[in-house]
Amino acid sequence: MSEGIGARVLRKEDKRFITGGGRYTDDIVEPNQRYAAFVRSPHAHAKIKGIDKTAAEKMAGVEAVLDGKQLTADGIGNIICGWLIHSKDGSPMNMGAWSALATEFVRYVGDAVAVVIADSIANARAAAEAVAVDYEVLPCVTRPDAALEKGAPQLHPNAKNNLIFDWELGDGAATDKAISGAAHVVEMDFTNNRLSPNAIEPRSAIATFNAAEDHYTLYTTSQNPHLARLVLSAFYQVAPEHKLRVIAPDVGGGFGSKIYIYPEEIVCLWASMKTNCSVKWTSDRSEAFLTDAHGRDHISTAKIGFDKNHKIVGLKVDTIANLGAYMSLFSSAVPTYLYATLLSGQYDIENIHCNMRTVYTNTAPVDAYRGAGRPEACFVVERIMETAARKLGVDPAELRRKNFVTEFPHQTPVIMCYDAGNFGANLDAALAASDYAGFEKRRDEAAKRGKLRGIGMSSYIEACGIAPSAAVGSLGAGVGLWESAEVRVNPVGTIEILTGSHSHGQGHETTFAQLASERFGVPIDNVQIVHGDTDKVQFGMGTYGSRSGAVGMSAVAGALDKVETKAKKIAAHMLEVDENEIVIEDAEVKVPGTNKTLGWHEVCLNAYMAHNLPEGMEPGLKEGSFYDPANFTFPAGTYICEVEVDPETGHTDIVQFVASDDFGTIINPMIVEGQVHGGIGQGVGQALLEEAIYDEDGQLLTGSYMDYAMPRADDLPSYQVSHESTLCPNNPLGIKGCGEAGAIGTPPAVINAITNAIGNNDLSMPATPSKVWAAIQASGVKQAAE
């Protein structure tokens, strides 16, 4: 059976996870290890008047109590946002100073003020409790619109009115003109609810400073260990890059929240140097809720115009995005180049304009969370399209179809150039799979049981594999967004693939091995994937934005090309034929139609024995590749959700969920389906359950799993997932990416279904039973159902 591209092979990495043999950061114990406990602000906004460490320093087992002044004195740099955005007036964004340990002010509940290093977690925590911080409590602001109001508490001196930037994309005047001349105009307000990412493995770090070697090692829960090393070195001056090894071992989910370099990793490294001990910190869930970067939190108004034939003439969107108390690593890119650029959706729209104001508030920093900007864009576009269809009295599927982009490449007015797709095929597949035509019959049947049944759809598009590097650089990115790979063939023909991508649930140890199996016909068991260690892999940009397939695998393909070329040259020399005659398949290197055949292992062995190589060829069989994509990729699809709402309680049951996606080439359908399932689960979570809520004092009300409504198994349905694929023309494997689609396409489909069921379009996320019940009361549909 083939184990190559498209094969539904089981995962190589599973054995260790199902037997308890996974090795996550907190599982690792270093000799001479101490534990860090952070002293965190209980206030959303306060001036630090003093820190008294004397009591804590005397407590049992305490090695050190360290604060921000010491950190600053040692030259540790401020935490930065790595994507520079300019406001429309040309001024650069107003980035406020963020020290890993606060020195003068705290700006959100959970802001780290000091750290205790002790011989046990219990002793560290007890001493952290004993650190007396004298706070002068200041007024705070938590809502993004309130932050911009006159007289609002000010967070950073360089960000007047808490404004970070006021940015725009598209032609505002042309869009206004198009909409003012439109035959039909629909306007809507949106909130995109703030979410806690909640990877089940909490963040963790163990730092070891080796004084004899003047060298640091950091184990950390990272999606991108190389980027962590670069930033820790170049910007935070914790250690020079060649003296710092960063290892991200097994990582228990990321969803964006483990991209960033947080204060805790910086402090653990620094504290290890200060104490000459290994320093370990593992977040508990309460800390995770307070300090892991949150996602979403947009407030928008949008206006869309249609001509008399129901073709869209213009879309105008005005959004305020809450970035929290400090600018996290990619926080500025999420509401700009990952949001406004996707407002064309799957539609041919001539005029689009988006204005984006980002603001500081006294809340946890907000950054990319699964989908990152694209779910927010999709929610605006797909909710307003559904609403427009209802107002125009036309079938929502047909309104979408009428406006679909059908010719590629398609240049939108908001930067993106869609390279390939067949939006109608995904819509048709989803309509068929959901028995869209039979819905009214199901609605009638449900009504007899006293249930309000509704159907809603979402035709999403996203952009993955952000690139090319020069283009993102011109848009303000502080890094290149390429990927690297190295393919090392051993003398016996087994293969190691070293990749800069990082797997934290995505199954790279299997799918990346499938690429080598496809190329040479070797079993995937003979291919080992090496990732997550800066000492082993030279460099890499890591895994986020669904980039591992489209970018990471393309780099592997490039290295495989070079290995294949060299192996063919060696084989041609051994077989005394021209290298163009050689093919490699089923682990054989041969000239088709002849008896000239070598085992793959024979060619590999000869590469290393070097007894019989072509004149001038270097021994060995190892090649590397850096791959920089020519464009983003554009996964797209249609999701259709069907719900039944209980009018008595407002409870929503998702009774059917259909997804038809175009991800381009699929390496392993089992894994891709799993990615879609997980994304839909998070999307349903956003639509029905989840919201990170701060009260007016800036206290996080949803700070545990008893308060934050994580989707449980009985909240979610089973999903029907299928694919209608077109190949991405811009990368060698034709891959588009699949990691975020579910989280992007799902929320508007769910809300469109519920609003369809209850006959009231005024419903915000999360659509909790109380909100749905209230909307039912407001609509009067309950009486109609009875």
Binding site: G21, A199, R285, G674, R712
Partner: protein
């Protein structure tokens, strides 16, 4: 400090622990069995589920001293030598795990679930599985393939 002893995965173990030591801390830190995980601090996520005297228990919610004298099974002790437990096989074959962090707790809860339903003769259908999993949180899979895995194992174990 209190001296405790128990059987863990069929092996007699003992240790001196503080009274406040949780069973999960004893398992992870003293015994170095790190397959049992901690994903929350409110007894909600279920990543720490082990079996104590044959019943699924959240080991973050039991003191180590309370488990003294008990027979404890962790994910490391579920396979029979080299033969995987049917649930382990089912999770692999049905892609019931992604990052793997919640998986040990899921599998230990599912083993208890299947045994209870088998003993009572009740039907363990999708609805029942989803309700039974209320105390185990997964962020990766959307639960779809976890449910398939448990259905598959339950059928094979019946």
């Amino acid at each position: 400090m209190t001296s405790i002893s128990m059987s863990v995965n069929g092996k007699a173990v003992s240790g001196d622990v503080e009274d406040r030591t949780l069973l999960v801390q004893f398992i992870r830190e003293d015994l170095r069995l790190t397959g049992t995980h901690v994903g929350c601090d409110t007894s909600q996520c279920g990543a720490c589920v082990v079996h104590v005297d044959g019943k699924a228990v959240k080991s973050c919610t039991m003191l180590a001293v309370q488990a003294s004298g008990s027979e404890v099974t962790t994910i490391e002790g579920l396979a029979n030598g080299g033969d995987l437990h049917p649930l382990q096989t089912a999770f692999k074959e049905n892609h019931g795990l992604q990052c793997g962090f919640c998986t040990p707790g899921m599998i230990m809860s599912a083993a208890d679930m299947i045994a209870r339903y088998k003993a009572s003769g009740s039907k363990l259908d999708e609805k029942a599985i989803r309700e039974e999993l209320e105390g185990n949180i997964c962020r990766c899979t959307g639960y779809h393939n976890i449910v398939r895995s448990i259905e598959d194992a339950a059928a094979k174990m019946s």
